[in-house]
């Protein structure tokens, strides 16, 4: 740093110093110029005054010595000179003849210059030696004024000359006095002006300095400060504006802190890049995920974090792979969105990635668990299928042989044996039904049951059902009425499952109704979801209590334990039937009143009329 700069730097930092320096320079320069001008003019005036005085003194003295010179009275001339040289500022006096030779002198003769005399008054200023020399010619008197006069030889007019030296000391003293006085006045004025300037500048600059200090503190993060507003002028307004700014800054800074906290607390990795794709900011989770120190990530192309040959990620989250610093692959759910500023211009990209390692582990475990469960379920289904086959084979024999024996022993004597055989047969059927129900249910639960819908003639199904339940209807002393109008005959359902469901409902109605009426009615109905075929099975039986209705369709829920013994059955039929109907897109519902009877309704999709006709005609 040069000396100039070193000197300059404190000035450049302080307006006060600059102001004062400017004031001093300006004031001093102008005052000095003025003083110089004044002294110059004054000096000239004094000089002229001195010259005039010298000239008049010279003329006076020349007159005085005229006669003495005319007559050659040396003593008279000396006397006149001595009298005049007593004046303080007269340095010397000399009288010369026309040829310039001294006649007589007084004072400091050493200062006198020699030379020819002139015909007129001559003033020679000799500033170097500090005096003015005045030479005044002494003329001979006018001839007419003399009574008897003989002209002398030589210059007819000039008798000689008077030379006189007048000191300039006094004039110089006066000028010096003026100089000192003027300088004093200047210094005093300078002091007063500096003082005033200092006070004024201070008044202006002190609050500014305070604001400077204040903004330094704000800059270092202390946003709780407020600048003092003591005045209403521009400085006060500045402070006020400053406070407003700091307050707003505080508000935005709070939101910045908030965003920082959000970034810090995020469980996902967040990377912000510039338009070029170079990383500008990352959150702590990113560092943790990738194993990089922050300074190694900043400025790096974000694409270097994923596989080189992979396409850049899109705004839609996709499963991608991040490469860590150690070279490991981390599965992440990654989305890359464009970061746009307020005006909508592209400002960079936001990469948001969720660590999927834990999810993957869980997923793998779930898959394994699911596979194991599926395996177990498959094993269960196979077991059940085999088991039901194994159970049914001996049952077939039991039922078949008891039937055969009953057929063989038809004579009246064997009546009691036939009754026993019938008990064996009935128990066999019951057991068979149970096995079949459990098999159905297990297939439904295993999701192995499928429906193959086709156009179904509901009237035909109801006739089949009537035949099947005829023995039971007879046994219970019931009346079974079936009403199937022609326009509701065709449903679109899985034939065997639909038949099984209807049979189950009619069978139940008969079982729980003694000497009553079971009426089956069919209708077609349409709603927002489509066209439906409904089969209503109403009985005049024992009915179902409201508290039991809810559990009715749950497996093994014949309304109470005793009913199982009284009415036979597994309690699985309704659960199976309802599952079947739901698989076909329909349902089974029930309304019932204890002692008055029940009404079950099956609903399955109706066949499209056109399609149904075609199917039927092909069949």
């Amino acid at each position: 740093m040069s000396l100039f700069e070193r000197l300059k730097s404190p000035f450049s930092r302080s307006l006060l110093a600059q102001g004062l320096a400017a004031t001093i320079a300006l004031h001093t320069t102008s005052a000095c110029v003025l003083l110089g001008l004044f002294l110059f003019v004054q000096g000239r005036a004094l000089e002229q005054q001195l010259e005039l005085r010298g000239e008049s003194m010279g003329r006076f003295l020349a007159d005085e010595i005229q006669f003495a010179l005319l007559v050659g009275d040396r003593n008279g001339m000396q006397r006149a000179l001595n009298a005049s040289s007593s004046s303080a500022d007269v340095l010397f006096l000399e009288i010369v003849n026309p040829s310039g030779q001294r006649i007589c002198a007084a004072g400091r003769a050493d200062l006198i210059s020699s030379g020819a005399i002139a015909g007129a008054t001559r003033v020679v200023r000799d500033a170097g030696r500090g005096f003015i020399e005045i030479q005044t010619p002494v003329w001979s008197p006018n001839r007419d004024s003399l009574l008897d006069w003989e002209p002398s030889a030589g210059n007819p007019g000039v008798l000689g000359a008077l030379r006189m030296g007048i000191s300039m000391d006094q004039q110089r003293r006066m000028l010096r006095g003026m100089l000192f006085g003027g300088a004093g006045v200047i210094l005093l004025g300078l002091a007063i002006m500096c003082g005033a300037q200092y006070w004024g500048l201070r008044r202006l600059l002190l609050p500014l300095a305070a604001l400077v200090d204040f903004s330094r503190r704000v800059g270092s993060g202390d946003l709780g400060q407020r600048a003092p507003v003591e005045r209403a002028d521009e400085v006060g307004q500045l402070a006020q504006a400053f406070n407003t700014m700091v307050q707003q800054l505080g508000e935005t800074t709070v939101s910045r802190d908030y965003i920082d906290n959000v970034l810090r607390s995020m469980g996902e990795s967040l990377i912000l890049t510039a338009r070029s794709g170079r990383i500008q900011r990352v959150n702590p989770k990113t560092l943790e995920l990738l194993g990089y120190p922050e300074d190694e990530l900043l400025g790096r192309p974000v694409l270097s974090l994923i596989d080189e040959d992979a396409a850049p990620p899109s705004a839609t989250a996709q499963e991608r792979t991040y490469r860590t610093r150690a070279g490991q692959s981390v599965p992440v759910l990654l989305s890359a969105s464009e970061l746009r500023d307020v005006s909508g211009a592209l400002d960079g990209f936001v990469w948001l990635a969720q660590d999927m390692r834990e999810l993957k582990r869980t997923q793998a475990e779930l898959v394994a668990a699911r596979d194991a469960a599926q395996e177990a379920n498959r094993a269960k289904s196979i077991f059940l299928a085999n088991m039901s086959h194994e159970l049914r084979t001996p049952l077939n024999a039991i039922i078949g042989y008891s039937q055969m024996l009953r057929e063989d022993y038809a004579s009246p004597e064997s009546e009691s044996m036939r009754a026993d055989l019938e008990k064996i047969e009935r128990s066999g059927h019951l057991l068979l039904g149970l096995i079949n129900d459990i098999l159905d249910l297990s297939k439904i639960e295993a999701g192995r049951e499928t429906v193959t819908p086709q156009t179904v003639d509901v009237g035909q199904v109801l006739e089949d059902v009537r035949n099947t339940v005829a023995p039971l209807v007879r046994q219970q002393g019931d009346v079974l009425e079936i009403e199937c109008p022609e326009d509701a005959r065709l449903a679109y359902a899985d034939l065997s499952k639909f038949r099984q469901s209807v049979l189950n409902l009619v069978n139940n109605a008969c079982k729980f109704t003694e000497k009553g009426r079971i009426s089956v009615a069919v209708n077609r109905k349409s709603d927002a979801r489509g066209e439906w075929t409904e089969v209503h099975v109403a009985d005049t039986g024992i009915g179902i209590a409201p508290e039991h209705l809810a559990k009715l369709f749950q497996p093994f829920s014949q309304v109470d334990g005793s009913s199982t013994r009284k009415y036979n059955g597994t309690g699985l039929g309704l659960a199976i039937s309802r599952n079947f109907c739901q698989m076909m897109g329909g349902d089974i519902t029930v309304v019932s009143e204890v002692g008055r009877g029940s009404r079950f309704s099956i609903r399955v999709p109706a066949a499209k009329i056109e399609k149904a006709r075609k199917d039927v005609s092909h069949a």
Partner: protein, 124 residues
């Protein structure tokens, strides 16, 4: 006398069903697996075949397909005997060429009705 070929691997069921059918006036020919069933059908030319589906050596579907593919036996009605319908069993049986089916345990009057219906044209 109408002749029925009963293809059934379970000895008890075979014995029971054959005796009940004999009592109703049928001559019953027995076979214990699918292969024997096909051979017996070719040899004996029965009026009806009662075909159990799950059989050793050759299952009932395969045996039915063979019978229906052979000109010598393709006109013999085949009635499948199925357990409580397993998924697809019945459809597979009809696909293989069975003319009708009856579920086990056999409801004899129902089965006799089917037999009458299927074998009537032949006896006529």
């Amino acid at each position: 006398m109408r002749r029925i070929l009963l293809v059934e691997d379970n000895e008890l069921n075979r014995d029971m069903l054959s005796r009940r059918l004999s009592h109703r006036g049928f001559q019953v020919i027995l076979a214990g697996d699918g292969r024997q069933g096909v051979e017996a059908a070719r040899r004996e030319q029965p009026d009806v075949v009662l075909m159990d589906l799950s059989l050793p050596e050759m299952d009932g579907w395969q045996a039915t397909r063979l019978l229906k593919a052979d000109a010598a036996t393709c006109t013999i009605p085949v009635i499948a005997l199925t357990a409580h319908a397993m998924v697809g069993d019945l459809e597979k049986a009809l696909e293989a060429g069975c003319d009708d089916y009856a579920t086990k345990p056999v409801n004899l009057p129902l089965l006799l009705g089917i037999i009458d219906r299927l074998s009537a044209p032949r006896s006529a």
